[in-house]
């Protein structure tokens, strides 16, 4: 009762009347508004104006509609969905095949390169006694270079032994 007397004192805001007419309010809010409308003529008038505005909007928007709307059977859409899913599955399966083939090729190539490297190394090891210096130089480039550098260095002039008195 106290609530109703409070509600009856204030007018219902415009947006609440829109929400009321759109049935967007809770049951208790509807009861509050209806109890206010029962005793408030200006709010009733505004409610009628808003109802007319709402109907007019609906009528105007109904003009903006295609002349005919053909609703295809739901089964038709389901068929499209099934086709699309099957196509997607096919693509995934093919991609998986392609990926596994690529991986196999890559693995094969890697294994071959590794095996070739092994063969070359063993062949080189077999040839090692024939040319020990060259091979040793090839396998120890840093040492050989430093040795060469050492070989290229000009001999230092002998330090004079003359000592000034």
């Amino acid at each position: 009762m106290t609530d109703n007397s409070f509600i009856n004192k204030r007018h219902v805001p415009e947006e609440e009347l829109h929400a009321y007419l759109d049935q967007a309010l809770s049951r208790s809010q509807c009861v509050e508004i209806e109890s206010h409308l029962a005793v408030c003529a200006p709010c009733r008038e505004r409610r009628d104006d808003i109802a007319a505005l709402r109907d007019r909007t609906t009528a105007l928007l109904s003009i903006l509609a295609p002349p005919t709307i053909h609703t295809p059977p739901f089964a038709e859409l389901r068929r499209r969905h099934v086709e699309r899913s099957a196509r997607r599955q096919r693509i995934i399966r093919r991609s998986a095949w392609a990926a596994s083939i690529l991986m196999a090729l890559g693995f094969g190539w890697g294994a071959r390169t590794f095996a070739q490297g092994d063969i070359e190394a063993s062949a080189a090891a077999e040839e090692l006694p024939a040319a020990p210096v060259e091979l040793a130089a090839r396998h120890r480039p840093c040492q050989s270079r430093s040795a060469n550098q050492r070989g290229r260095t000009r001999p230092r002039p002998a330090r004079s032994t003359n000592i000034h008195p």
Partner: protein, 170 residues
Amino acid sequence: MTDDLAELYQTTYAAVVRFLYRKVWDPDRAEDLAQEVFVRAMAHKPDKPRAWVFAVAANLARDEARAAVRRKRHLTLLKNEPAPMSAPFRSPDAEVEHSEKMTKVHEALADLTPRDQEVLLLWDGGLSYPEIAERTGLAIGAVGTTLARARKRLVEAYDRQQLHKQASRS
């Protein structure tokens, strides 16, 4: 789930086509996009199918408009006018009158802000206030305010056009 979707399809398909038509202004394209929306719904199985359907419809319409502008293919969109439609059940006079009305409503709708347009079209599509709020990011309380403003502006813009037309005729 499929039964729910089938029921939603029967009750909502026309509303989705109208919603899309008011964005792409091409009846055939609107129907194609609406069907695409429901085919996608079958794959996604959304929890709130009604709100989801309108959200996807709005996104598809936006993509469609962008693509059309980018490719400069869709002349009616560039001119911002509805596509001419065949209505065999109307007399030529009625057809002209309907076409004029349609142009005026379309222009009146274009006077609204994008937010007001979106809320009004979603409401006309049959979405509830919470669904509109979820879709647009507005508070539920603000949906009523936005809708009140949008309705008033649409009718005012339409009446202004009527007056303008009468003044130009006289």
